[in-house]
Amino acid sequence: MAEPRRLGERAPCEPLLDVNGLEVSYGAIKALKGISLSVGKGEAVALIGANGAGKTSTLRAVSGMIKPGSGVITLRGESVGGLKSHEMVPRGLAHAPEGRGVFPNLTVQENLDLGAYLRRDKDGIAADLKKVFGFFPRLEERRLQMAGTLSGGEQQMLAISRALMSRPTLLLLDEPSLGLAPQVTQVIFRILRDINAQGTSVLLVEQNAHLALSLAQWAYVLETGEVAMEGTGQALLASEDIRKAYLGE
């Protein structure tokens, strides 16, 4: 396999997540054919690419939702490949899945409580609750409303907030802009930038390459289950190929 093209210089940072030669198959179909990527401490990293390129599968393998066929996944120096998703949470990983996955028949508050399921520190939980309500005041207004009655944008806010309630070091986000109005997407990405600036590392999958690349310090371009290109968000945004293929210019 050819080395992916590299654009720009990556700012050095302490390694957090390291994925090496990750392969995932669904029956006879190989969705990931040896993906290697890394996320540093405090970094925001984006995965962009067309439908079916393997972005969601990558996130799912990292968070333990699906078992990788082969490859090594290391989180903070510990090999975590093949662990189940509930075992990843205490290791500092939170995953806001594709399609938001809020519990429609539970209230906003109950959804958030479940995000802190493994935590026992009441004061810390209360502080984090205050923090996410600070990010998304609309959730506080709808605290006692069933999550199923929220708008799509509010559900996305809830999904992100719920993931934050476990106080993760690494936040995986799958298509946070999916199906949302542009203004709502703007709000969410502004908050994501804040969350990242406050020290949470982010691994973001996004169809909207422009948004993703302007948030991420480093990004990988996936094509049919392989990393085709990687680079700084800025360099990729400026690249002719990327502009043609993913930004519709």
């Binding site: 509930h86 949470v89 899945p97 519990f103 539970l106 479940l114 399921y117 719920r162 993931a163």
Partner: protein
């Protein structure tokens, strides 16, 4: 009038037993979306375990409180263990397969239990014959609670038996406890999350396998408790006894709105009363037809069951 009161009491007594079985049904359905058709047969298993314990205890312990408690405790524990076993080895491997697969597996387990128990199997150890499978003949369930009249109204017109009161109290306590467990505890919160979406629940750190196994154990233990109460009432037990009780409890759970705990209880009490009135005022051969007819009527009028609710959801 006395006759009517007597029917109400008998109906409620029968209904509480259905309720305990129905709670297990509805709880497992709520968490797994699986109709565990083996549930009634797990109940039958619990009855036979209770029978064995009572038999081993011997006559002198029958009717004592400690004896009765021991019968319940061993039977509940054995069924909880069996529930764990079938979930682990029969249902868990099929969890991500189409739902029909688990349903048919459940029917298979049901048959395996109800017909397996009709085999006669005994081994001889050191001159003692130990029965492993009881055989098809019905047996008399020992009176682990000595039946006494708890209250009498009029001139022996209405009799309330102690076992009726005991089963009513046990059933209500278990229902209350379950409601508390599901809505007020961490385990219950996790159960509800798993019931909505077990994959997302896992992403939040909830140990999905543990929660599902716990739900199965709890449901199976409830079935065992119901089975012992049923055996005390009916006195005669046989390997197919779980089939009809299981079906009736399933009907009760659907009438109440499957997945809904208070619904299962109300559905079961209604069913118990309904059957008792039919038997009391018409002919007992109508009983089952009316029970299932009741189900059809409820499904026609309110397909989600009495307490089920249509969900408001934006997509």
């Amino acid at each position: 009038m006395y006759e009517f009161i007597q029917h109400v009491i008998n109906g409620l007594a029968a209904g509480t037993i259905y309720a305990l079985v129905a709670l297990g049904y509805t709880m497992v359905y709520g968490v797994l979306k699986l109709i565990n058709f083996a549930h009634g047969d797990v109940m039958m298993l619990g009855v036979y375990v209770g029978y064995a314990v009572a038999f081993l205890l011997g006559r002198e312990h029958l009717g004592t409180i400690s004896g009765a408690l021991l019968v319940f405790a061993v039977s509940l524990t054995a069924c909880a263990a069996f529930g764990f076993f079938i979930e682990r080895f029969a249902y868990r491997p099929l969890r991500d397969k189409p739902r029909l697969t688990s349903l048919i597996t459940a029917i298979g387990i049901s048959f395996a239990l109800s017909y397996g128990f009709q085999l006669d199997l005994a081994v001889s150890v050191g001159g003692h014959s130990i029965t492993l499978l009881p055989g098809a003949a019905s047996r008399r369930f020992p009176a682990i609670i000595t039946p006494t009249e708890w209250a009498v109204l009029g001139d022996n017109d209405v009799i309330i038996w102690n076992w009726q009161v005991i089963s009513f109290v046990i059933a209500l306590t278990l229902m209350g406890g379950l409601q508390y467990l599901v809505f007020r505890t961490r385990f219950g919160k996790a159960m509800r999350a798993v019931s909505h979406d077990h994959r997302v629940a896992g992403l939040l750190g909830i140990p999905v396998d543990t929660i599902i196994a716990g739900t199965f154990m709890l449901g199976s233990a409830l079935a065992a408790g119901a089975g012992i109460l049923y055996a005390i009432k009916d006195k005669s037990i046989q390997p197919l006894m779980g089939v009809m009780v299981g079906l009736k409890a399933f009907v009760a759970a659907v009438i109440g709105g499957i997945g809904n705990l208070p619904g299962a209880v109300v559905g079961a009490l209604l069913l118990g009363l309904c059957e008792e009135f039919i038997v009391g005022y018409t002919a007992s051969s109508w009983r089952d037809a009316v029970a299932f007819g009741f189900l059809i009527v409820v499904l026609l009028v309110r397909p989600e069951g009495l307490f089920g609710r249509a969900q408001a959801e934006k997509v």
